[in-house]
Symmetry: C2
Subunit: 236 residues, 2 copies
DNA sequence: CGACTGGTTGAGTGGTCTCAAGTCCTGTGG
DNA sequence: CCACAGGACTTGAGACCACTCAACCAGTCG
């Protein structure tokens, strides 16, 4: 992690689609004045499970995984984040220690505002609580949907679902239509699906044999999204 | 379901611990004026997955399960509710169809306020958005914790965890210290744990043999909570 | 009294996990 | 440039947890 010169919220690409989309000039100014910006190298930790949140993280650029660590050290990824997403607000609002750890999946730049600023913004801007409520509702819906998948689907079905979720979250490569715009290790995929790494490898290999995806190392192409949806048993 | 005379929010036992705890006199009056009250018999549906929410439900008295229905009709219970809890706010705030069905676990009385009133209250009372944010944060944390359990624990471990969750949520019988204050069918327990009914029966029977619980039909006594916690691998 | 629902028990199957033995990469230092 | 170490990835074999299917019992209701 390394401090870098302040980025300007005003021109931040991600912000326009974020929970801070409709901050007015004054508030933006205050936010700009208060925050600090940092870069994180791939693999570096943004915050640790168990620590108290001191403020809010906003991703300017990059990809982050948020995971809980169980007995035996096995990770369960509970959220994925990208440019424009905020991090750590769950524990900040609930005023409790982080229940998960956030780690950079690739080199990322992330801004930080302290708790005080955050609470002040929450009070001055009436749209902000509303936006956060809606964000929380979405997250909760996603979590409950995935909970159901965990409980009722096979690993094969969940893997198909996860690949579709990755496409929805991170989209496809700018120039290559079918290429997922994120590269995860087999282990990360397993920790997302909730299974063993070996099982992911075997099933991905099956998908490749069935011409549903193509694999070149961590680069994944979706060749047959329709079939993938059929396997995942999702409708959208 | 049957309409009953209006209950008074002012004297509602549950409200004092609820998200509406700090409504002022004016707002309470408006709420009282607007709402309607109904009784639901055990097994009756409060709202259906897929329908649009028309307002907010507040449980005056009773117990409710909220579940999602998967292919093959298998239910996954995603939430349990009791006196003082609000229902259906997730979809109401998110302005989307219900993603789950709510059904009475026992005879219950539930009040209903329409969307308009709800939105008005949300704007007039600054504490309300805050309370809902905190509620959503809790729910999200619980959902993520349970997601991890689903992914990493065995059915036996999850069953132990669920029994402890039931105790935490509904408490114990007024007169019998160890007796769970809720009676669920084996199938409901299975739909909570995310397993087959037969598996729940076998494992509960194991717990009984090990003197961890006692069973008389649906009445469950926790004889050895320490051992239960050890099995569930939880800390609190 | 049958029909029905909820609970229980048994047998067999198979999906997934674990363990173990490699192979393939990639970065590093000589 | 090569050798090497370490991590990521792959493949195989065996074990077992949990599911499904099926039969049966107990209580309840019309």
């Amino acid at each position: 992690m390394k401090r870098i010169p302040k980025l300007d919220c005003e021109t931040c690409e991600g912000r326009t689609h974020s929970v801070f989309a409709d901050l007015c000039g004054n508030e933006l100014g205050a936010l700009n004045h208060n925050k600090v910006c940092n870069t994180y190298k791939k693999g570096q930790i943004v915050f640790y499970e168990g620590n108290m949140p001191m403020g809010l993280y906003c991703i300017n650029q990059g990809k982050i995984k948020v995971f809980k660590t169980g007995r035996g050290g096995k990770e369960q990824i509970v959220r994925l984040a990208k440019d424009g997403d905020v991090l750590g607000y769950r524990s900040l609002i609930g005023n409790e220690p982080y229940t998960a750890t956030a780690e950079a999946l690739e080199d990322s730049t992330i801004c930080f505002t302290d708790r005080k600023m955050f609470e002040q913004l929450l009070q001055t801007d009436p749209a902000l609580p509303k936006n956060f409520m809606e964000l929380l509702c979405q997250e909760l819906r996603d979590a409950e949907n995935f909970l159901q998948s965990m409980a009722q689907k096979t690993v094969r079905e969940r893997l198909a679902e996860v690949i579709l979720i990755l496409r929805k979250k991170y989209g496809t490569h700018p120039t290559q239509e079918n290429r997922l715009n994120v590269e995860l290790s087999r282990e990360d995929i397993a920790n997302l699906v909730g299974t063993a790494t070996e099982t992911v490898i075997r099933l991905l290999s099956d998908f490749k044999d069935e011409k549903i995806v193509n694999l070149e190392g961590r680069v994944l192409h979706i060749l047959n999204p329709v079939k993938l949806m059929a396997i995942a048993k999702v409708d959208d």
